[in-house]
Amino acid sequence: MPELRYVDALNRAHHEEMERDERVVVLGEDVGRKGGVFGVTQGLYERFGEERVLDTPLAESAIVGCAIGMACNGLVPIAEIQFADFIHPAFDQIVSEAARMRYRSNGNYGVPMVIRVPYGGAHGTALYHSQCVEAFYAHVPGLKVVAPSTPYDAKGMLKSAVRDPDPVLFLEHKRMYRLVRGEVPEGDYTVPLGPAAVRREGRDLSLFSYGWTLHEALAAAETAAQEGIEVEVVDVRCLRPLDKDTILRSVAKTNKALVVYEDNRFGGFGAELAALIAEEAFEDLDGPVARLAGPDVPGIPFAKPLEQWYWISQDKILEAVRRLAHY
């Protein structure tokens, strides 16, 4: 099986889905001629033409609004928001229209649409190109919110998202595009939107994460193992719907839970995981449900030392692992 970068796996999924189903269209800022600022949509414009690959104005509300209209009228749009930081103008379209269309039309209309969103902090991306937005949208019934963290999942879950009859917010941590590689099969396969994946088995505590912090967590778990702490690392990958069974089964096994996420700690998505575990795994717990998350500041700072201070590094994770393991 060829090894692909995360970005290439997404690109393959686009090509294959557009080839498979002519209703699939792509729209967004610079997705056409330029092939996307991160290169995810490269080659689509040349191959499928300007009728199916649309460069849009810088107006996120319009991108999502148009996509909803297309979806209600028989197309299957993949809308790219250039950076998660700029999705906020489209909040109303996503929450008030896309998410509730099926509910309010009594099942007569659905919005089979994917909104792809590069998110999270990378080097020097600072206040306006670093945000984590998953908590805003995972809160909304009617939306699916996914955050694959391997190239295999990126391709397989994007295909599932395209074929899903309802709107899917597809989160891509931008640090993974060119840093994360993995085996990706040629041709068609899908990864269902729902199940979580145990990436590493362990007996001493369960660590739940997704996106880039999952990779930091796996590295930290490796070091912890050398110290005799066996961490079970669970890739949540689907924030909504959430795979409660896998999460609770893991806690029942290790009896301790650590939730790691990059977003601000207060009210972040990890808080939902922590609450779920506290409520439904109470009698399995041999320690407090712990959260390691970004500090509660309005954005990831630009200054290098402050950026480091914000990031959820391997070292911070290792420290949290040690603390909980020895509780």
Binding site: E227, N255, F282, E283, D284, L285, D286, G287, H326, Y327
Partner: protein
């Protein structure tokens, strides 16, 4: 107000410590930052400063007791923050008993005087019918002495192995086994030795060095050297010097295995095994490559003294890149030591003994010794090991300390 004094975290990987000696008794005054108690960890002994100023009202932890980080070890009545009624009390009252806790503070979850139990532990207690009496016998190893899942599971294992019903004691107590409690040092040694043997594929090499000239020089010049430099000169200093030179010639021996590649250390931080009363410590001579024979001798003397007095700091024992052990002082003539994890090798220097050897086809009486290297075969191979040993040997045999 009575403040709980808790066992502090003394190092990154230190999770427990043993109470050495109390420097204050109940009723004594203590200033903030004044040494309150001596603590013994698997790495070092330290004096713990008092976190507050006031009067010691209670010593909770007894000398010799081993406790997890966070455990309450003493209570100190802080200056100026007495209960509101303090103003009306004469200042010369005898040491007040600790204030009774307000009833609300008695946590409802507290059971049988064993502290708060986690939901899982409560469930295990229920499921296995563990009585309050049994629970009191379980030594908690979690933060603040909390009883953890592992503590309960370990207890259950023991309980299954030996049912609680009191069995009649065997008739011959004289023949009974004795169980010596594990000191933190013993436990640390056990853990590190097992780990080194488990993870590192050890291989060994031994060469014989003829140190007749060295012995001759040492016997003749030792006193003058010591007078001139004001430092005790031992053979170990020569061995250290020879090892450092060989390490500079073979950087791969001064290294560490990792899955991502072999880590070659930029400096020679030479650990030297020192036998102490209750075990073994390995203080480190940092940047040994920058030190002369005099410098090495001086540092050896200082570190050995501090090790024997139990006054090594954390820094003294951290960062070693290679270890020298000298079982020769006890008379061993052939040693294969265990590598000091995660280093790549350890050099053992055995006893210098006079032996009949063949020199220039004649039998001669020479002072010889064995140099043994245990090495991580993942990092380098036998050829390097033996070349390294020969380098050490050559340095010792050619020794002309005057020029060093």
């Amino acid at each position: 107000m009575v403040t709980d004094v808790r066992l502090p975290q003394l190092g990154e990987s230190t999770y427990e410590a043993t109470i050495g000696r109390w420097l204050k008794a109940p009723g004594d005054r203590v200033e903030r930052f004044e040494p309150l108690v001596e603590l013994i960890t698997d790495k070092v002994n330290v004096e713990m400063p008092s976190p507050v100023a006031g009067r010691v009202v209670e010593i909770v932890a007894q000398e010799g007791q081993t406790l997890p980080v966070g455990a309450v070890i003493a209570r100190v009545e802080e200056d100026g923050v007495q209960a509101q009624a303090a103003g009306t009390e004469p200042a010369a009252q005898p040491a007040a008993a600790p204030e009774p806790e307000p009833p609300a503070a008695q946590a409802p979850a507290e059971r049988a005087g064993v502290g708060r139990l986690s939901p899982l532990v409560s469930r295990l207690v229920e499921e296995h019918g563990i009585s309050a009496e049994e629970l009191r016998q379980i030594q908690g190893t979690g933060v603040g002495g909390r009883i953890t899942k592992q503590d309960v599971l370990r207890y259950l294992e023991r309980r299954t192995a030996a049912p609680v019903v009191e069995a009649p004691r065997p008739a011959a107590p004289a023949a009974a086994e004795q169980r010596v409690a594990l000191s933190p040092v013993r436990r640390a040694i056990a853990e590190r030795m097992s780990r080194a043997k488990r993870e590192i594929p050890h291989a060994y090499g031994v060469v014989e060095a003829d140190v007749t000239e060295l012995v001759r020089w040492y016997t003749a010049h030792r006193e003058a050297f010591e007078r001139q430099h004001g430092v005790r000169l031992t053979y170990t200093a020569f061995f250290a010097r020879a090892a450092v030179e060989a390490l500079r010639a073979f950087p791969v021996v001064n290294a560490q295995w990792s899955e991502d590649g072999i880590v070659i250390k930029p400096h020679v931080n030479l650990g030297v095994a020192v036998s102490v009363e209750d075990g073994l410590v390995v203080p480190v001579i940092h940047r040994a490559e920058e030190k002369s024979l005099v410098g090495l001798a001086r540092e050896l003397e200082e570190l050995t003294r501090r090790a024997r007095e139990g006054r090594l700091t954390l820094e003294d024992v951290q960062g070693g890149t290679f270890t020298l052990t000298n079982p020769g002082v006890f008379g061993s003539i052939w040693s294969m030591p265990i590598i000091n994890y995660p280093q790549a090798a350890i050099l053992a220097t055995d006893a210098i003994v006079k032996r009949a050897v063949v020199r220039d086809d004649a039998i001669a009486i020479r002072s010889v010794m064995h140099l043994g290297l245990s090495f991580d075969h993942r990092v380098f191979d036998g050829a390097v090991a033996v070349r390294f040993l020969n380098h050490v040997k050559a340095t010792l045999e050619a020794v002309d300390p005057v020029t060093r």
